[in-house]
């Protein structure tokens, strides 16, 4: 079964976590611009696949050649789904920043940051786990 190097999505998550953390520390106009950029990255991950985002390409061309071969390959579908969850949070944050609801925007960025940190530090995909929780809840309604 073909797959991707699992360290690729973790590298992307690390960059995402830094961008989201910086977003929280910047003044509102700059934060708005940065969350928009992050939103575009998330959207690229969803549409093009996680291997073809800017961070995915940096990982493949600059980082992976310096690492030992991966112990196992991973299915690209879970991280791609997680990018969609990230995109949803980025869009909520963007709309809140644009409408002046700064605290709500920062909470949305903070939640996305929790997910990005969990992925970067622990290799845990929170968005993926929400998938089954969502299915269970949706099916019951």
């Amino acid at each position: 079964m073909s797959g991707i190097d699992p360290r690729g999505p973790r590298f992307t998550a690390s960059v995402t976590a830094v961008l989201l953390a910086v977003t929280l520390l910047l003044p509102d106009p700059a934060a708005t611009a940065l969350i928009a950029v992050q939103g575009v990255f998330f959207a690229m991950g969803v549409v093009l696949g996680v291997q073809n985002t800017p961070t995915g390409l940096v990982f493949r061309s600059l980082v992976r050649p310096r690492l030992s071969p991966p112990a196992a390959l991973e299915d690209p579908a879970p991280p791609r789904f997680a990018q969609a969850v990230g995109l949803a949070f980025a869009l909520v944050a963007l709309v809140c920043y644009l409408t002046g609801a700064v605290l709500a925007a920062q909470v949305a960025v903070g939640l996305a940051l929790v997910a990005a940190l969990l992925n970067a530090v622990f290799g845990l995909c929170l968005g993926c786990e929400l998938y089954l929780v969502g299915l269970r809840a949706a099916g019951r309604a």
Binding site: P6, A21, T23, L24, L25, L26, A31, A72, E74, D75, A77, P78, P79, F81, A82, V102, L103, Q106, V107, V109, G110, L111, L113, V114, L117, L118, V121, F122, G123, L124, C125, G127, C128, E129, Y131, L132, V133, L135, R136, G139, R140
Partner: protein, 144 residues
């Protein structure tokens, strides 16, 4: 500055949850069922699955689940190596009624069923081989 506060809370939450998950992932805990047995539920939902003579490892998986792959490799390896132990993998998305009946909340979740089909132990998160072997020993010790 609220941004710094949100940032700190997010970092704390991530580290706390990550450490908690690292602690509980793959750890088997006692989980008793009544009638109908867990296997009765599985048999009713998933046609063609065959229980093991000694024990059955029932794994719930979903599409967007990287650790499910790890769990599959470990459980299939144990089932290969141990006589009378079968590994049954169930797609949680296709069997949501079963997921609710057995109260599965995460994928991967692994149930250890004894020879009679009763659930004895379960673990959420991918278990390591040693954890599965210890769980099997415990399941057999408890049911005889």
């Amino acid at each position: 500055m609220t941004g710094l506060l949100v940032l700190s809370l997010a970092a704390l939450a991530a580290v706390g949850f990550g450490l908690y998950r690292r602690h509980v992932d793959g750890r088997f805990v006692a989980h008793a069922d009544a009638a109908p047995t867990a296997w009765d539920h599985v048999a009713a939902a998933s046609t063609g699955a065959v229980p093991g003579d000694r024990a059955t490892l029932v794994q719930f998986s979903s599409a967007f689940c990287a650790p499910c792959r790890t769990a599959r490799v470990v459980l299939a390896d144990v089932a290969d190596q141990e006589d009378g132990v079968h590994h049954v993998e169930i797609d949680a998305e296709k069997h949501l009624d079963l997921v609710r009946a057995l109260d599965v909340r995460r994928t991967p979740t692994t149930l250890v069923l004894d020879a009679a089909g009763h659930e004895v132990l379960r673990a959420a998160g991918a278990p390591q081989k040693q954890q599965v072997l210890a769980a099997l020993a415990h399941a057999e010790g408890g049911s005889r």
